[in-house]
């Protein structure tokens, strides 16, 4: 208690100091206040999270008792610890980046406002995560939502920003209402607002009520995560948000939505049937596919990354869904595995998406545009930024040795575990969703090859972008931190799994680390229980290499199954990377030593078919690159307007061909537009009743009285 409280106090004190200094100091100093004190607060947050995850036991304290409402309860456990830690890891670089990106807004917008809102948001995020009762949780959630709205709308002079942030506010509020309703239904059953009471009494709920609570909280919290079909606000809001703030949306507040879903449906009210899991799995896969399809075809750097956040939230949700199903069917080990993998992917997504959003902010600042059709060739102008973004691109494309590879690989492995389920129908859902996620992974590679190739390689396609210069340390530093974290989480998965296991064990009731990371190292607990024959088999493959040097259980991820099938899958990213690196060095040395001695290297310009001058407008654009995807998935994109208008002189000499195409997002088209049409239809029927004639209203009153009379008389 004491250490947590101490860290929390430090954190609150730093945030308070930050807010006060932002108010007190001249505007031009605020970016540095945000950078320094924000980073400091983030460090405190990392300590808080790491402690809650690894060291301190779960604790509940009543902070303040307000008689009519109940108690304000502070509660932390390892699950909250994961989210606190990830939030801290995101806020640290993002705060530093503020020093680079905020000064651009100086003079046009109030820096003081930004500083105060920023620190307040930091506190509200932490408060949401450490709330132990429904009331304080929802209050913190609301404050966080409103602060997000204010920060997204920070550049409020732009019409588009105002629209986008307003849309975000309305949809978040609808989501918050639904989630609150779900929590209150749970609370009504328990007769208390305290989370621990909720959890204790959840078993008495009926199936219908459970499903209602699941749907309310899943889609209510899902708004923040951008799940289909409540995702329409997300790309617009992310695009509107200032460069300094948008990484927070993707790296921190998106996670809160997933936290809400997991907290309610895995911890407070664990699933009792497969239905919630199936819904989560399908919604997650659909979000992943829709997200990546729109990301692949979008040409705006920020919007593309926003769509990709929907994709990643979908992957994480699919992992949750698998976990719910395994929990409901009495497979705690697999359920723990699924939750762990989902949390792993959540951490990874936060890190690489923050990295990419920071990179996008730098590119927009330096090259003057976010339009991939107008960028290109930045690798020559901004080599370090390009390197950092490349690390992010490799991570998000799930390529080793970066972190995305491990968590996406494990996610697909989780879905393959459906073989152990009894029900054929659920198996089919698993198979289809697995295929959908595999397609997502392939499209993600296309999408991010496009991002890097069109943004950083080739020729620069606009004169403004040609002037781009490398950014400063205040942006390169944060990107370097994030790139290193991405690499670390990809190289050392066994340690990450062990750490995350702390959070998963209480909610799943089983350890995933025992299943996934066998204690190959002699000193690790449980090593003596490992069957020697089994260990010996892997000994030959080098599973014990590093023993004595590296701490922990081992460096091999290995899923242990039953006796018939002792090893389901195995992989050793750490070894793999060491071996690959060694081979690369070897190849380099061999080439250096043998071939290059006899040959001279001549560099020539790119072969252009012998044309006199290759112009930038003759090279592929991002739109052109992704057009095959647009054509293949025409049924999803289905442009509403697509026409070429021709301008001619003298009938046959064309002076212009204008291609206009407009697309409506598939969710808008398939879900929201029909819903709106129904609402309008109902509304117009109602409006017809209200035509303002007195005798009609008297007739309504009479009819109502008669109905009431009959009801009370006969029932």
């Amino acid at each position: 208690m004491n250490s947590f409280a101490a860290w929390l106090k430090v954190f609150l004190a730093v945030c308070g100091a930050g807010a006060l200094l932002s108010l007190a100091l001249p505007q031009r100093h605020v970016p540095r206040v945000v950078a320094w004190l924000g980073a400091l607060a983030a460090v405190a947050l990392i300590g808080l999270g790491a402690g809650a995850l690894l060291a301190w036991p779960p604790t509940t304290t009543v902070v303040w008792n307000v008689p009519p409402i109940g108690a304000f309860i502070l509660r932390w456990d390892a699950l909250a610890g994961v989210f606190l830690l990830v939030t801290g890891l995101v806020f640290l670089p993002v705060s530093i980046f503020a020093a680079n990106s905020l000064p651009g807004l100086l003079g046009r917008y109030s820096m003081r406002g930004y500083g105060v809102l920023y620190f307040a948001l930091l506190v509200s995020v932490v408060w949401t995560l450490v709330s132990g009762d429904v009331f304080s949780f929802m209050v913190a959630w609301e404050i966080m939502s409103i602060l997000c709205y204010l920060l997204v709308n920070f550049e409020h002079e732009e019409e588009d920003n105002r629209k986008a942030s307003y849309l975000m506010l309305t949809i978040s509020e609808a989501g918050a209402l639904a989630a609150a309703l779900g929590l209150l239904l749970l609370a009504a059953n328990a007769g208390s607002l305290d989370f621990s009471q909720l959890k204790a009494s959840a078993g008495t709920l009926g199936g219908g009520m459970r499903l209602a609570i699941f749907l309310l909280t899943f889609f209510g919290f899902g708004v923040k995560a951008g799940l289909v079909p409540v995702n329409v606000w997300l790309p617009r809001a992310y695009t509107a948000a200032p460069a300094a703030f948008v990484p927070v949306l993707a790296g921190a507040t998106l996670n809160l939505g997933l936290y809400g879903i997991l907290r309610v449906n895995a911890d407070l009210m664990p699933a009792a049937s497969v239905v919630p899991g199936v819904i989560a799995l399908i919604v997650g896969t659909a979000s992943a596919l829709v997200g990546i399809l729109y990301a692949t075809t979008d040409g705006d750097l920020k919007t593309l990354l926003a769509h990709s956040s929907i994709e990643n939230a979908g992957i994480i949700t699919a992992g949750f869904g698998a976990g719910f199903i395994f929990a409901a069917t009495g497979k705690p080990a697999l359920s723990a595995f699924a939750f762990l993998v989902a949390l792993y992917h959540l951490a990874n997504h936060s890190l690489y998406k923050t990295l990419l959003f920071v990179g996008a902010g730098v590119v927009e600042d330096r090259a003057g545009t976010r339009d991939l059709d107008r960028l290109g060739g930045l690798i020559r102008l901004m080599p370090w930024t390009a390197l950092a973004v490349l690390a992010g691109v490799l991570s998000i494309s799930a390529l080793p040795p970066f972190n995305g590879f491990v968590s996406e690989w494990l996610t697909l492995q989780t879905l393959l575990r459906s073989a152990e389920l009894g029900s054929g129908g659920v198996k089919i859902v698993f198979a289809l969703c697995g295929a959908g996620l595999a397609l997502t992974a392939a499209l993600a590679v296309t999408c991010f090859v496009k991002l890097f190739a069109m943004g950083f390689l080739g020729m620069t396609r606009s004169s403004k972008a040609e002037q781009a210069k490398e950014t400063s340390l205040s942006a390169l530093g944060p990107m370097a931190i994030l790139a290193v974290l991405c690499l670390a989480l990809g190289v050392l998965p066994t340690y990450v799994i062990e750490a995350l296991d702390h959070a998963v064990r209480p909610i799943a009731g089983s350890s995933a680390a025992d299943v996934l990371v066998p204690p190959f190292f002699a000193g690790s607990p449980g090593h003596q229980d490992l069957p020697p024959a089994f260990a010996g088999e892997f000994h030959d493959l080098g599973a014990q290499v590093g023993q004595g040097v590296a701490p922990g259980r081992g460096l091999v991820i290995l899923h242990r199954g039953g006796t018939a099938n002792p090893v389901v899958f195995a992989g050793a990213p750490t070894y793999l990377i060491v071996v690959l690196a060694g081979l690369l060095v070897l190849v380099f040395l061999v080439v250096r030593g043998t071939v290059s001695r006899r040959r001279t290297v001549t560099r020539r310009v790119c072969w252009d078919g012998g044309i006199r001058r290759l112009l930038p407008e003759m090279t592929y654009t991002a739109t052109g690159f992704s057009n095959p995807v647009r054509v293949i998935f025409d049924a999803i994109f289905r442009p509403t307007i697509m026409e070429d208008t021709r301008e001619t002189v003298g009938e046959h000499f064309r002076t212009a061909i204008r291609r206009q195409s407009e697309t409506v997002h598939v969710v808008d088209r398939v879900v929201l537009e029909p819903a709106r049409n129904i609402a309008m239809a109902v509304g117009s029927v109602l409006a017809r009743m209200h035509h303002g004639r007195l005798n009609a209203y008297l007739a309504y009153a009479l009819a109502s009285l008669l109905v009431a009379f009959f009801v009370f008389t006969f029932f």
């Binding site: 044309i611 654009t621 095959p628």
Partner: protein, 525 residues
């Protein structure tokens, strides 16, 4: 409408401004005032269904002499519309408003003579690429020497291609001039947003050899070499057109055997060319066996030509006045036997191709050109005939012995790649039939007649394998050329090239290109 009606109509419509005269050469000559030039040409082209053959610009001693050539069906004959303008006058009224087929002729003349065509919206960057030549070089003017080697060059380095596609993410994909292994040098700029060619801009004249300029001042036997060799895949046809122009000027009479042999050789060349074009179509659709089979047939026909005439591309045969060397009846029969053998196998391949659905799928409804567009853009040859235009110079304005021979002009309506393929097959059959008839008509006698070189000007025309070819020759008193103008079929057809490739996908591009069978060498000159 025949010539006398035409003359009356001209006088009635534009009294005093369009003066009609029937030339001794049998063509109508309309001398136009500046103001009515476009209307007169437009009337001929749009209402009286004359085809536009070409524009001949000549720099006279004190004036520009412009000659717009039109031809109709057999009875209508030829109409030459003339307009003169003082040399210091740099603008000429453009006729493209009514005669779109004249578009590239005016652009070419503007580039090479420096004459501005008033009312033409897209002048410049045509023959002399703006990124290689500065403005103001007018190489066809008399003061410009064809032999000057090091012209000072100040190209416009800021030049950019004219792009017209406005769409998010649009770009212009460059292809060539060095591309695709064995393609002729030409550059394409395909404007697109990624899948379909929305606008195609062919950039020709990478192979501009200035045949018309270097011919000036040369004697006819030297120009013959140029006429024969500027487009060697259809060498005999062009040499023949040139020889006809010379023969018309010098009033030379080709002996009967020479005329028949000319038909025989011309049809052998057409047959060989069409087999090659069919080979190109099969190869572009990746139908390997058919491509190899047709390639073998083409090689066999090249060998037949080589055996018959010494040269695989029939060089050195056509001479003004007849044929350079007598080909014996036996050699002709031997060649005909070879052609029969090839035709038999070609017919079998056609039967097989007609049931190869994967092949037909890639040709049908691909590269469509409508009849109206084919006419407006002035397309000629098998391309035009596949779009429903039956005009063929061998029938419309017969030359040599074609008037005596029986043959059909195959026409298809669809205007797509498959229609063009069918036309090629049908024309190949007709060619062999014509060769049979020619061999039957062979009589003993000389193959060439001597003649006296005279001054004068005349037009020679042939239906070359790729379509109507026109050679205008003006011989001066010393027997050398004062002006030599070639209006080849590929030049006319490249003009309509964009019609067929736009709004089709990239993967159709090489197939459409092969069905059009356009020659760059022939067009670029």
């Amino acid at each position: 409408m025949n010539q006398s009606e035409l003359g009356q109509e001209m006088e009635r419509r534009w009294p005093g401004q369009a003066r009609y005269r029937l030339d001794s050469g049998g063509f109508g000559e309309v001398t136009c005032a500046r103001d009515v030039l476009a209307q007169v040409c437009g009337k001929l082209f749009l209402d009286w269904s004359f085809s536009f053959a070409g524009l001949v610009v000549e720099e006279g001693a004190a004036e520009w002499r412009l000659r717009y050539l039109f031809y109709g069906e057999r009875s209508a004959g030829w109409v030459h519309v003339l307009m003169n303008a003082p040399l210091d006058e740099r603008t000429i009224p453009s006729i493209v408003k009514f005669v779109h087929a004249a578009n590239w002729h005016e652009r070419e003349s503007e580039d090479l003579f420096g004459v501005l065509f008033e009312g033409h919206p897209h002048l410049g960057d045509f023959v002399l690429h703006d990124d290689a030549w500065q403005e103001g070089v007018a190489p066809m003017r008399h003061q410009f020497s064809a032999q000057v080697r090091d012209i000072e060059r100040r190209p416009n380095m800021e030049w950019r291609p004219r792009r017209i596609l406005e769409a998010p993410g649009a770009f212009a994909m460059p292809i060539g001039p060095v591309f695709s292994g064995l393609a002729e040098s030409v550059h394409f700029l395909l404007e697109t947003v990624g899948e379909d060619v929305i606008r195609a801009l062919p950039r020709l004249f990478y192979k501009y050899r200035a045949i018309e300029k270097i011919a000036e001042g040369r004697a006819i036997e030297n120009i013959l070499l140029l006429a024969e060799r500027f487009s060697a895949t259809t060498a005999f046809a062009h040499a023949l057109a040139f020889c006809q122009a010379v023969e018309t000027i010098c009033r030379a009479e080709v002996p009967a055997r020479g005329r028949v042999l000319r038909v025989f050789i011309a049809e052998l060349e057409r047959f060989r060319h069409h087999v090659g074009a069919i080979e190109g179509i099969c190869a572009s659709t990746a139908l390997v066996v058919a491509a190899n089979q047709t390639a073998m047939l083409e090689e066999e026909l090249l060998r037949v030509s080589g055996t018959l005439a010494g040269h695989r591309y029939l060089f050195g045969l056509a001479v003004p006045g007849g044929i350079a060397t007598d080909l014996s009846d036996a050699a002709c029969l031997e060649a005909l036997r070879g052609c029969h053998d090839v035709l038999e196998r070609l017919n079998e391949l056609e039967r097989m191709l007609r049931v190869s659905s994967s092949f037909l799928d890639r040709l049908e409804e691909v590269g469509f050109i409508s009849e109206a567009n084919a006419r407006v853009f002035g397309l000629v040859g098998p391309i035009a005939r596949a779009s429903g235009i039956s005009r063929d110079l061998r029938v419309a304005q017969p030359y040599e012995d074609y008037g005596r021979l029986k043959f059909e002009v195959p026409v298809e309506k669809e205007g797509d790649g498959y229609a063009r393929l069918r036309v090629l097959f049908a024309e190949a059959r007709e060619s062999v039939s014509l060769m049979e008839q020619a061999v039957a008509l062979l009589s003993a006698g000389r193959v060439a007649a001597p003649f006296q070189v005279q001054a004068g000007e005349a037009l020679g025309w042939v239906e070359a394998p790729r379509g109507a070819a026109f050679h205008w020759l003006h011989l001066s008193e010393d027997g050398t050329a004062a002006r030599y103008r070639i209006m080849p079929p590929s030049f006319a057809n490249w003009h309509g090239f964009r019609l067929s490739v736009e709004n089709f996908a990239f993967q159709d591009f090489p197939i459409i290109l092969s069905t059009l069978d356009l020659s760059v060498a022939e067009s670029d000159r």
